[in-house]
Symmetry: D2
Subunit: 147 residues, 4 copies
């Protein structure tokens, strides 16, 4: 099956460093494949919160996940921290796709895993898609990067 | 972005029923997007264990995850149990791709989410790809289904 | 250190059967110690939902956890399901303490772990303790059992 | 029910700062009660790894959890990081009890939660208790603190 090549750190304009946890390591002694998605979710929502684009308890709109994916290139292992690189790969009218790279903190220059994460902006109550605000759009554009 | 249509139960030859958990529901009151992958992992490995194709602690080979993905169509929510449908979508020399459908137990006939899960058979020690045994191949073929 | 003896199934008036998950097994090949608490949380809240005593999104009051504990007597391991036994050990004006036993489904008659789980009934908005309703009290009393 | 008072930071000789995750927040918008135990497990094992007292894959002995507990005093919430304070509360022949305090990073001087975590040193193969080595004992003693 065709597999992407692991990207380097230069593919991502911003990074978040996240701790791993003892129970992230599964019976094979490495981060279970589901943990990568917890890191994606945490880095993306953390960036949205920092940027003032998300108020999960009181905002008129929230972001729901409609599509995710991950290619695993090499193992990540607790207790090593992970640098999570992010860029905006695609900006739609109501949605945004992030490309994400996971790197062992300090040591890895080539990604251990590459993720895809698609958020749709929805009305909190009806949960129907809502256009991204101009503010959101301008902020997301700062994460777009040619690769 | 092009999105797949939610498959129906008839797309899957086997099903596993799994309980959801209180802490699966996130701040939005539904299964967090990472939980779907826990259900994939559990259903696939459970089937492998039942079929006698996996001994995680002592087998010469183990299955490592190299690619996963999920399209989310509708919400799943604790306390509802989930029926996890599985089929083998592609059988390679050393790898196997599963397509997976998640359905709210009893009530849903159209999938709430559709997953893709690729396992590579590797040597336990060297973790290099190893050909699937004839026994494994024959067993996996029972999960192939035209859709 | 003084340790309780593992209780038998007869110590619990009600049971819930819960599935375990692949990623519940940690690097030592057994259920990580934190998973036991997920099972407690799931069984207790599931019972409350079934009994009509909890509406997490719209009730005037909710139950918050103020104290938990667990004694581990023997290993539990995915893929085995777990029977979660529950009884009410103490019923206060605003709080309820559950004693919980975890047993490997079908096979174990003596608990693999014993838990303690204390819920306080609080006002949803102010999160200050609120008296249990008479209905709640009568329902909780059905879970009291001499041991 | 008698409840301990929340300890202050001065009760703990060492601290580890850990990130929280999006999916740590449950339907009530705060860290689910099970997450506290993940932080305990991670801080304790991380300290053991740093101190050279644990090799989970190859050591002759490993540490298994036999008893845990937590008192919850106030909410912790993603995206706030958590400072995990640790001390050794009791050092037995084959076991060690840690007392743990969780504090919202930077802001909290009084613990949001207090944990108890008991490890038994066991033979990797037989999983029967084994005496702590002199080296381990001396190292653990550096974490004892009058309170």
């Amino acid at each position: 099956m065709a597999r992407p090549s692991p990207p380097s750190r230069s593919a991502y304009p911003v990074f978040t460093r996240l701790a791993t946890r003892w129970d992230d390591n599964d019976i094979y002694g490495h981060l279970n494949n589901t943990v990568h998605y917890k890191l994606f979710d945490t880095a993306v929502n953390g960036w949205l919160l920092d940027a003032g684009l998300l108020d999960p308890l009181a905002g008129d709109t929230i972001f729901l996940v409609v599509e995710t994916g991950c290619s695993y290139f090499s193992e990540l292992t607790y207790p090593q921290a992970v640098d999570v690189g992010m860029r905006v790969a695609r900006l739609g009218r109501t949605s945004v796709q992030y490309d994400i790279g996971l790197f062992a903190a300090d040591t890895q220059t080539v990604a251990a895993a590459q993720g895809r994460f698609v958020h749709v902006n929805v009305d909190r109550v009806t949960r129907t898609p809502a256009p991204l605000s101009d503010t959101a759009r301008v902020t997301f554009e700062t994460l777009i990067q040619d690769t």
